[in-house]
C-alpha cells in the first residue's frame, strides 16, 4: 500500500508534533519531580528527598540536581553519599562556589581528610570534562574548516597560513589537555564509605582478615572491581577490599 505525498507530509508533521510533545512532557515531568523532591527537603523529610533526587538522576543528571541530592544526604546524616553527590556535581560544574562550600562543610563534618590532588589534577579540574571536550572540539572544527577553505578557495583571506597554523597548535594543545582530562576523569574514581564501621578486607571475600574499619564519608581511590567487592586505596596508602554496597562512587 502506498501513501499519497500529501498523506506522507501530514504523517511526518504529526510525528514531529508528537516528538515535541513527548520532549516537553518529559521536561515538565522532570521539573515536577524535582520540585516534589525540593518540597520534601523543605519539609525536613531529607531521606525521602534524597531518594526522590536519586530516582530523578536515573533519567539524567545536572549540577543542581546532584547538588540538591548532596544536600539531602547531608541533612539525612549520610555523609558518604553526600560527598559522592557533591563530587559528581563538581565534575559537571567545577567552579560552582556553592558546591565547593557544601563539599568542604561535608568533608569537615566527616572528620576525614580528602585524598590529596596533584597540581596537574587541580589544574585540569578548573574545567569540566564537557568543557575540555567542547574546547578541543571547537579548535579541531575551526582547524578543519580553515583547511577546507584553503582547498576550496585557495586565494581567499581565510587561507592565510598563519591562522591555519595557529588553529593547528590550538587543536594540538586542546586535544592533549582533553586526553589528560579524560585520563584524570577515568583514572581517578573516588569512593566514599556510606556508614560507620565499613570493613576493609585484605582480600575480596567476606571471610578474609579485616585490615581496618572506615567511618562514614571516608574517601578512597577506586583501583579495581571484583565481583561484589571493590579494591580501594585510602589516603594513608592502605589498600584493601570493600563490599560495593558499602560505598558511594563518583562515577556510578
Amino acid at each position: 500500500m502506498s501513501l499519497r505525498p500529501h498523506s506522507r507530509t501530514v504523517l511526518a508533521r504529526l510525528g514531529q508534533a508528537l516528538g515535541l510533545l513527548l520532549a516537553v512532557g518529559t521536561l515538565h515531568a522532570d521539573q515536577a519531580a524535582f520540585e516534589k523532591a525540593n518540597t520534601l527537603y523543605k519539609d525536613g523529610k531529607h531521606a525521602e528527598a534524597a531518594e526522590a533526587y536519586q530516582e530523578l538522576s536515573q533519567t539524567g543528571v545536572s549540577a543542581n540536581l546532584l547538588f540538591n541530592m548532596g544536600n539531602a544526604y547531608f541533612k539525612a546524616g549520610e555523609l558518604g553519599r553526600a560527598l559522592a553527590a557533591y563530587q559528581r556535581a563538581l565534575h559537571l560544574a567545577p567552579r560552582h562556589p556553592d558546591i565547593m562550600v557544601n563539599l568542604r562543610i561535608a568533608q569537615r563534618k566527616a572528620l576525614t581528610e580528602p585524598l590529596p590532588l596533584s597540581l596537574r589534577q587541580q589544574w585540569l579540574r578548573k574545567l569540566s570534562l564537557g568543557e575540555w571536550t567542547a574546547l578541543a572540539s571547537f579548535c579541531g572544527t575551526l582547524f578543519l574548516i580553515l583547511l577546507t577553505v584553503r582547498q576550496v578557495w585557495p586565494a581567499s583571506g581565510a587561507s592565510n597560513i598563519l591562522w591555519t597554523r595557529l588553529s593547528a597548535v590550538a587543536t594540538a594543545v586542546a586535544t592533549l589537555l582533553l586526553v589528560m582530562a579524560v585520563s584524570n576523569f577515568s583514572g581517578d574514581q573516588r569512593a566514599f564509605a556510606v556508614h560507620d564501621g565499613v570493613v576493609v578486607h585484605s582480600n575480596p571475600v567476606e571471610q578474609s582478615p579485616e585490615l581496618f574499619q572506615a567511618t562514614d564519608g571516608m574517601e578512597f581511590l577506586l583501583l579495581e572491581r571484583s565481583g561484589d567487592f571493590v579494591n580501594v586505596r585510602s589516603g594513608n596508602g592502605s589498600v584493601g577490599w570493600i563490599r560495593a554496597s558499602d560505598i558511594a562512587l563518583t562515577h556510578p
Partner: protein, 580 residues
C-alpha cells in the same frame, strides 16, 4: 638551540633565589687521644673575603686539609657551597669547644655555630697490635648521670681498614633503645693507618632508677687483610699480589660497657596531670572556627616542640563536659635523627553539644624540666567560642542564588551550615561524558569528511588543469552535449542550414580532439589525409565524409526534410560514439 641555552640560563638565574649561611661540622663528636677527626666550615652561596681559620686551642693540633666547591640544583634552588676542611688531632683528654667563627664576605659577616669535641682515652682494646691494627670499635655514652625518662645519646663507632660488618649488638638492660638510623661515614687517621669510620647513633632512655650499664657492644666483622702482610711466599712469585691479594678474616669486636647512674624523678612537686614528659618543651595551640552551630566540628591544633623524647609525648585526653571528642590525628617531625628534639602536632576535633558553651577550655601539659630539675606546666587557652543553636532559622534565598556573593569558596571555613538547595533543575544530561558518546564523534567527523572531500576535489581539479588533453576532452564533451540538444531542436524545426552548421562544428571539435589537432579548419580532406587514415576506421571515415558533404550541400541548398536531418543526427551520434 640558542634559545634553549638562553632559557636554561634564565632558569638557572631564576631559581637562584638562595639563602646564604655558614656552618661548621665535625665528622665525629667523640674521639680518642691521637686520633684525627675532620672539621669542616661550609660557606653556602657566598664567597668569604679570606680563608677562615680556627684559633689556637691548647690540647688540639689543627691542620688545614684543603678546600672544595660543590654545586647543587634541587627543590627550585641552586646551592653553591665552598667547604674548608681541617684535621684536628687531640693530644689530651677533655671536652673542647670549637668556637663560633665569624666569616666576613662582601655580603656581610656570617657566623658558624660552636661545636663540642669530646676527647677520651683510647680503650685497652684499641691498643695497637693484634686485630685492632685492622679494626676496633668504641662505645660512646653521652652522660654518666640521667633521670628516668631522659634520653641519653649513645654512639657506637666502628673503625675498619677494609672489610664487611654486621649491625652492632648493644646490651642495655633497663633502657629503651631507639632504632639505629643510617650510620654516618667518615675517615680517621691513627698513626700511619687510615680507617673508615661508621658511626651508629641511638638513644637510650632509662626506664628505672639505679646503677645501670650500657654495653658492652659487639660487632661481627670480616676483615680483608692482604695475604702478603700475613704470610709472604718464600719463592719469588711474580703473580703474588695479583691473584690472591686479600684474605677474609672473621673477627668479633667488642667495646666496654659504661656505668650510668639513673636518678628517679622527684615525687615532690609532681603535678597531678604529669604523664612522664621529660625534657624542655614549648606549647602552641589554636582552635578554629570559633563560631559554630551545635554539632559542628571545632579543630584544636596543639603543637609541642623542644628537646627530649618528642615522639613519646602524649597529651592528656581532651574530654571536656559539653564537648564530644574524637581521637586526635598526630604527626611528628624530628629535628635530629635520634628523635631527641623536634615537634609533635596533635589535631583534635571536638564538637560542642549545646549552645551554652562559651569557650574551648585551657589545654595543659606538665613535664619535668631537666635543666631546672623541677616540674613545670605549660598551657594554652582558653579560647572564646560562640555556639549557635542548631535550630537557627535558615535564611532561604531566592531561586537561582547559586552565584550569590556570600557563598564563595573562601567563606567555607566561616560557614557552619550548607548552602540551601537550588530550585532550577537545569538541563538534564547523560551521565556519560560527552567525549564518550558516539553521537559526538559522529558530529565531529563532519568537518573532517568535508575537508577530505575538499581535498579530493582540489586534487582532481589540479590534475585536470595540468592535463590539456583531458581539459580539452572535458570541454569538447560539454560542447557536444549542448550541441546535440541544439541539433535535436533544429531538426524538429527543420532549419537545415543552422542544423548542418552546428553539425559541422561538432564534427570538427570531435575530430580535432581525436586527431589532437586544432578544430578550426578541419574539412573532409583531413579525414582522408594520412592522419585520418591512420587513426579513423574506414567505415567511420565514410560516415564523416558523408556528413561533411551533406553539410557543404546544405550551405547551397538548405532544403531537407526533418527525417533527413534526423538521419544525419543519428550518423553524427554514431561517429561520436566510434571516435570516443
Amino acid at each position: 638551540m640558542n634559545r634553549l641555552i638562553a632559557l636554561s640560563l634564565l632558569f638557572l638565574f631564576a631559581v637562584g633565589a638562595h639563602a646564604q649561611r655558614a656552618f661548621a661540622t665535625l665528622d665525629r663528636s667523640t674521639v680518642a687521644v691521637g686520633e684525627g677527626v675532620g672539621f669542616s666550615i661550609a660557606c653556602e652561596n657566598f664567597q668569604p673575603s679570606n680563608t677562615p681559620r680556627l684559633p689556637f686551642i691548647p690540647g688540639l693540633r689543627i691542620a688545614g686539609a684543603g678546600s672544595g666547591r660543590s654545586f647543587q640544583l634541587g627543590g627550585g634552588q641552586q646551592t653553591s657551597t665552598l667547604t674548608y676542611n681541617f684535621l684536628i688531632t687531640p693530644n689530651k683528654t677533655g671536652t673542647y669547644t670549637l668556637p663560633a667563627l665569624s666569616i666576613p664576605s662582601r655580603e656581610g659577616v656570617f657566623k658558624t655555630q660552636a661545636l663540642k669535641l669530646r676527647v677520651v682515652a683510647a680503650d685497652s682494646n684499641e691498643k695497637k697490635g693484634g686485630i685492632s691494627e685492622y679494626a676496633f670499635m668504641r662505645l660512646v655514652v653521652g652522660k654518666n648521670t640521667a633521670y628516668v625518662g631522659e634520653p641519653i645519646p649513645v654512639e657506637i663507632q666502628l673503625f675498619l681498614q677494609n672489610g664487611r660488618y654486621s649491625p652492632p649488638e648493644l646490651t642495655a638492660e633497663g633502657f629503651n633503645m631507639s632504632d639505629y638510623p643510617e650510620p654516618k661515614s667518615s675517615r680517621a687517621q691513627r698513626g700511619n693507618s687510615i680507617f673508615q669510620v661508621r658511626t651508629f647513633q641511638t638513644a637510650a632512655t632509662p626506664v628505672k632508677a639505679g646503677q645501670l650499664q650500657i654495653g658492652p657492644a659487639t660487632m661481627d666483622v670480616v676483615l680483608k687483610i692482604r695475604q702478603n702482610q700475613r704470610r709472604r711466599s718464600q719463592f719469588n712469585d711474580p703473580f703474588e699480589g695479583l691473584l690472591t691479594r686479600y684474605q677474609d678474616v672473621p673477627a668479633k669486636l667488642e667495646a666496654k660497657a659504661h656505668n650510668i647512674t639513673v636518678k628517679p624523678l622527684p615525687t615532690e612537686g609532681r603535678p597531678a596531670g604529669f604523664n612522664g614528659a621529660v625534657g624542655q618543651f614549648t606549647m602552641a595551640a589554636k582552635a578554629s572556627p570559633l563560631e559554630v552551630t551545635v554539632g559542628d566540628p571545632v579543630t584544636v591544633n596543639i603543637q609541642l616542640s623542644g628537646q627530649g623524647a618528642v615522639d613519646s609525648l602524649n597529651l592528656p585526653k581532651l574530654e571536656w563536659p559539653g564537648f564530644k571528642s574524637y581521637e586526635p590525628s598526630i604527626s611528628s617531625e624530628n629535628a635530629d635523627p635520634l628523635g631527641l628534639s623536634g615537634t609533635k602536632v596533635f589535631e583534635q576535633v571536638i564538637i560542642p553539644e549545646n549552645d551554652t558553651l562559651t569557650e574551648v577550655p585551657k589545654i595543659e601539659l606538665a613535664y619535668f624540666n631537666l635543666e631546672e630539675e623541677e616540674y613545670q606546666t605549660m598551657s594554652q587557652g582558653p579560647f572564646p567560642l560562640k555556639v549557635n543553636p542548631s535550630a537557627r532559622p535558615v535564611s532561604i534565598p531566592n531561586a537561582n542564588t547559586s552565584q550569590s556573593g556570600d557563598s564563595g569558596a573562601e567563606d567555607a571555613p566561616q560557614r557552619s551550615d550548607i548552602v540551601w538547595i537550588k530550585y532550577d533543575l537545569g538541563t538534564l544530561g547523560q551521565a556519560t561524558p560527552l567525549v564518550s558518546r558516539p553521537t559526538f564523534w559522529l558530529l565531529q567527523s563532519i568537518p573532517f569528511l568535508l575537508w577530505i572531500g575538499a581535498l579530493v576535489w582540489r586534487r582532481k581539479s589540479e590534475a585536470i588543469a595540468g592535463n590539456p588533453r583531458l581539459l580539452r576532452k572535458r570541454q569538447v564533451n560539454q560542447r557536444t552535449r549542448e550541441g546535440m540538444g541544439r541539433l535535436e531542436q533544429l531538426a524538429d524545426e527543420n532549419l537545415a542550414l543552422e542544423f548542418y552548421t552546428e553539425l559541422a562544428e561538432l564534427l570538427r571539435e570531435q575530430l580535432g580532439l581525436h586527431l589532437d589537432i586544432p578544430a578550426e579548419g578541419i574539412t573532409a580532406d583531413v579525414v582522408d589525409g594520412p592522419l585520418g587514415q591512420a587513426q579513423i576506421e574506414p567505415d567511420t571515415r565514410d560516415t564523416l565524409r558523408r556528413l561533411f558533404t551533406a553539410s557543404d550541400a546544405a550551405s547551397y541548398a538548405a532544403s531537407q526534410s526533418t527525417a533527413e536531418l534526423r538521419a544525419s543526427l543519428a550518423d553524427l551520434e554514431q561517429v561520436i560514439h566510434e571516435l570516443n
